[in-house]
Subunit: 337 residues, 2 copies
Amino acid sequence: MKSVTIKDIAKVANVSYATVSRALSGSTEIGEETRERVLKICRDMGYTANYVARSMVMKETKLLGLIVANIDNPFMSEMAYHIEMRAREHGYNLMLCNSSHDLNLERNVFELLVSRQVDGIILVPSNAESYNNLKPLISKVPTVFVSENLRDLPESYVSVDNYRGTHMGTEYLYSLGHRNILYFGQRKGSVTHQLRAEGYFDACKELGIEPNIFNSTYPLSSVQAGSQMAKQIFTSPFPYTAIFAATDSLALGVFAAAEEAGIRIPEDVSLMGFDNILYADLPRIRLTTIEQPKKTMATAAVDILLEKITDETSGYSHRILMPTLIIRSSCRDIRQG
Amino acid sequence: MKSVTIKDIAKVANVSYATVSRALSGSTEIGEETRERVLKICRDMGYTANYVARSMVMKETKLLGLIVANIDNPFMSEMAYHIEMRAREHGYNLMLCNSSHDLNLERNVFELLVSRQVDGIILVPSNAESYNNLKPLISKVPTVFVSENLRDLPESYVSVDNYRGTHMGTEYLYSLGHRNILYFGQRKGSVTHQLRAEGYFDACKELGIEPNIFNSTYPLSSVQAGSQMAKQIFTSPFPYTAIFAATDSLALGVFAAAEEAGIRIPEDVSLMGFDNILYADLPRIRLTTIEQPKKTMATAAVDILLEKITDETSGYSHRILMPTLIIRSSCRDIRQG
DNA sequence: TCAAAGCTCGTAAACGTTTGCGCATTTACT
DNA sequence: AGTAAATGCGCAAACGTTTACGAGCTTTGA
């Protein structure tokens, strides 16, 4: 398992190992003929560079840490895919860590990542407390938050315009003739969910219809929450014609509850989601939803992070991207005529 | 950004930096009172260990590489979750790389990972050619293949008993009264798919019914392949009553085609999948399928890898796990009476 | 009381790179 | 032809750890 090093090459090439390093790194201060000769020997002997030694002297690892709650969550995994691809384009690799929605674990892996000397960290917060939880640590390494809006906190983040998303969504529902639209979500808690609720709320007011917000004891990223709220609703006869779920996962829960209660979507009630996770476009689901531009968010996140890394004085940036309405078939046009 | 090192600690503690190292590492050859003193100073000065320096001298990084085709594939992401958790339990972190179903990329990231000195690599092959593609490289670092059966190749892998899975599945369909069962998959190509097809084929023979295997030009892990095959089938009036898809993704494609063609599942035709990906249990899908024990496979993979790492002479191991039948509601009982 | 053994700690080498500095040789310019 | 600049390469330090070896001191046992 002893692998061949730069010194071994130097020995057989009969040069100093500094020269070998220069041949490999494409330095100019080396003759063409020696470079060729050294490179050939490298190939012949099967030399592979040692990045950790390199990291040691360069004081950079070309490694980025990615902390997500659960990589098996479809939103997270899609983000992770694009983040990894973008990072690698720039010569960076990714260390993946699951925090499992556990704040202590989140802190642990964060510290682990700084011990591992990652050049920067991308964090998809597990919940609203993440920022406060990590506050003492984020000064140790460039960090960017993804998907969670930190309002005007002095830290870099990229998120979607949540307010506009729900605003746009309820306008669409209105245009389909819906006048009694329920919202599954909450006005307190994370900024993200505040903004989404406000967007819905304000749109209702502007359109002259009554807002109606439901909440759950479960987290809003779970399907259980959606089922729970929907079950409450489905017991009594309903005056509403549409449900706007703050999250695609919630919408999935609504689907499940509707299935049980024998309520049809969209025939009996229309359903709109938010996020456009992979699940949303599955056959039999075809959820109309508000899309977070995940690929754009991912590339923006690594670009911002890389800028922070190369220019330590670059401050912080807030990048808010535009959501788009994805029309599928979970919302029905109920206008007569 | 200058971080505090072991030497800084040594200076203020007035000891040699070897002593500091010993205090940190829990060595016995150090006095209790000095250990306490040094540790306190470490806390006060906010010392964080440098893993890359440590890796340099220890000749181990405590890093595992994970190569998947696409982390946003639900099967991959679920595996990745469990692999990461298990690895971290043992003090290892994960470097995540997507190969994007590209053999060249797969080789590139593999080489990258060995340059980064990972202690081992877990590989979820993007296709049947992966093994041959990587053959010259896998001698450089302990490697274990996951989910792909390498038959009797001298490399470690963990997979499910694919033969038994489809065998069991068609027996179940038979028990529901189905006598004309189509199989979407192929008998050539990857060993995994050979075995699955054989399991179906042999079960049919044993049960005295006619096997009927369909193939596609698309990869069998895609939903397009499922749609393509289903569309072919759905045009003509059908004598068959059930479809066994070699993959849940294929089954999803069947769902989609059925939706278009106005064919109901399971009323008109029963549908069985394989893998039990996250999608399979979604409302309105509820796919009856054969489960790959993903968590078990994941932990087995890292355990096997860790054994290879710690004991270089341990050879290789093939771990075949038992699949289980997950009954949901895509298969109907068509026995009369 | 003295040698042997046991603690605690410092010295220095090693891990595989990169790079500033200096030296020798070659090239260019007047 | 003589000086100045450019080129090609070696030397050695540095990055932050771990650990074998040895030195000095204290304890133990006869």
